[in-house]
């Protein structure tokens, strides 16, 4: 199959090298456009004032944090099933970015919550699940850091991701269940009362920017991982020789 060709690190390395600047430029342009929409085009919310504008960071970050976890689980499954090294490297390269977005979502959530609810932190179901998601990312990265043998690190991390992805819906359900029992804050960030069309557009553009940023950063990281792991391979030596 043609796609298989790209699963080889020696093919993927130069390809990713060409793609990283493209993705980075796209991310920068989209972020500029998204922020422009967010700050200048979108109207001031009549209930929440200017403070609501943080959702242009918060919501895309929250989306990405969950999406990246799913993508990691996907690559983990592929890696375990077909033993493709590149899949494991993708998983590993995505984790810090996923954790970053999770942290960003929590941080901006706190900034948003202070003026809205008068508290930096509320035990809202979404915020709580996001916090647990951050723990899951941290666990994955800690496990990777603790294992020296790359093969074991790859496979153990992948297995942990699969256990995680089975558990995430259960955790989310349990947290929602807990939240309804304890009647905590039921205000949620995305349930803004009047979501203007421009606000939605702003968030979508920002989400795309975050998506391209993730691609750029993950590919750059995969490139360094490939170099670190294949330093003895023929093609890497040849490349060094040519440089």
């Amino acid at each position: 199959m043609n796609l298989n060709r790209y699963a080889s690190p020696s093919i993927f390395y130069p390809l990713a090298g060409r793609l990283v600047p493209v993705f980075a430029a796209l991310a920068a342009a989209l972020a500029a456009a998204g922020l422009y929409i967010g700050f200048f085009v979108a109207p001031t919310d009549f209930q929440q004032g200017e403070g609501y504008r943080i959702i242009f960071i918060h919501v895309p970050a929250a989306w990405m944090s969950m999406f990246i976890y799913l993508v990691m689980a996907f690559w983990s499954a592929i890696g375990l099933a077909w033993n493709t090294r590149l899949s494991f490297m993708m998983t590993r390269a995505l984790a810090p970015t996923g954790a970053l977005f999770t942290f960003l979502a929590l941080w901006t959530g706190a900034f948003w919550g202070k003026p809205m609810w008068g508290a930096w932190w509320v035990w809202d179901a979404r915020l709580t699940s996001e916090l647990i998601l951050l723990f899951l990312y941290m666990g994955y990265m800690a496990l990777q850091a603790a294992i020296d043998d790359p093969r074991r690190a790859d496979r153990a991390g992948a297995l942990l991701n699969l256990v995680g992805v089975v558990n995430v819906p259960i955790i989310y359900f349990s947290v929602v269940w807990w939240n309804t029992l304890h009647q905590g804050a039921s205000v949620s960030l995305t349930r803004a009362p009047s979501m203007a069309q421009t606000m939605l557009w702003g968030m979508l553009v920002m989400a795309l920017a975050a998506w391209f940023y993730t691609l750029a950063v993950a590919f750059a990281r995969v490139r360094t991982l490939i170099l670190a792991r294949e330093q003895r391979a023929q093609w890497v030596r040849q490349m060094e020789h040519e440089a």
């Binding site: 603790a146 074991r152 153990a156 259960i170 955790i171």
Partner: protein, 222 residues
């Protein structure tokens, strides 16, 4: 097949009785952690009743974790784990036997001690019953999920702390449903809904965890 699981469980229990000190430590840890909370928070009966279920359950989570990092580590160190892995039975059975043994050795005693701790927190008899029932359904899940973490962190530096970091997030649903059952009794809505959810969780974990743990053992021993 069953005799293999039985052999593993019997072996773990014999080994635990030879090291009674280690075994008692985990049980005392449970009691001490739970007893510290009233000292930190205050002893008004209202407060105690409110925090009691959560405190006992969190202490149970921590006590289960305490003995988990040795689940495979001892056998790994003296080479017995290799013999277990080469035994002519599916690895999932080995994982299941190990988790079952862990539950018998460290989960069952918690269930027996918990009502006494519940009394410390001024829980009424119906709530104590719910506490025991929720622990009976929940602690096997702790052992099963924990066995995956123990297998993944086998032989790593800082294995115990890492194990806690990996596994505690997965314990969240057990904690919520477990305390929810007791809270339901206290609030007068009954424990059935939460206990059913715990039961469903136990069924799912029984199905998947031994398999995942077996895979993790294979990865870690390579």
């Amino acid at each position: 097949m069953l005799s293999f699981v039985y052999t593993i469980v019997r072996r773990e229990i014999v080994l635990a009785t030879r090291r009674r000190g280690d075994w008692l430590t985990a049980q005392f840890f449970f009691v001490i952690v739970a007893s510290l909370f009233p000292l930190g928070i205050g002893a008004e009966p209202e407060t105690l009743r409110a925090i009691g279920p959560g405190v006992v359950w969190v202490a149970a989570l921590l006590a289960a974790l305490l003995s988990l990092d040795r689940l495979f580590a001892d056998d790994h160190r003296d080479g017995a784990l290799e013999q277990l892995m080469l035994a002519p039975y599916p690895h999932a059975l080995l994982a299941f036997g190990k988790a079952l043994a862990h539950w018998i050795v460290s989960g069952l005693p918690l269930i027996v001690i918990a009502p006494v701790l519940g009394l410390q927190f001024d829980l009424p008899p119906a709530a104590l019953l719910a506490l025991v029932a929720s622990l009976a359904l929940g602690t096997p899940v702790l052992s099963l999920l924990g066995s995956i973490g123990a297998a993944l962190t086998l032989g790593l530096r800082g294995g115990g702390v890492l194990l806690a970091l990996l596994i505690l997030p997965f314990y969240v649903p057990v904690l919520i449903f477990g305390t929810g059952a007791i809270g339901g009794v206290l609030a007068g809505t009954g424990a059935e809904a939460n206990l059913s959810l715990l039961g469903a969780l136990l069924a799912l974990t029984l199905l998947l965890a031994p398999w995942a743990c077996a895979q993790a053992l294979n990865v870690s021993l390579e």
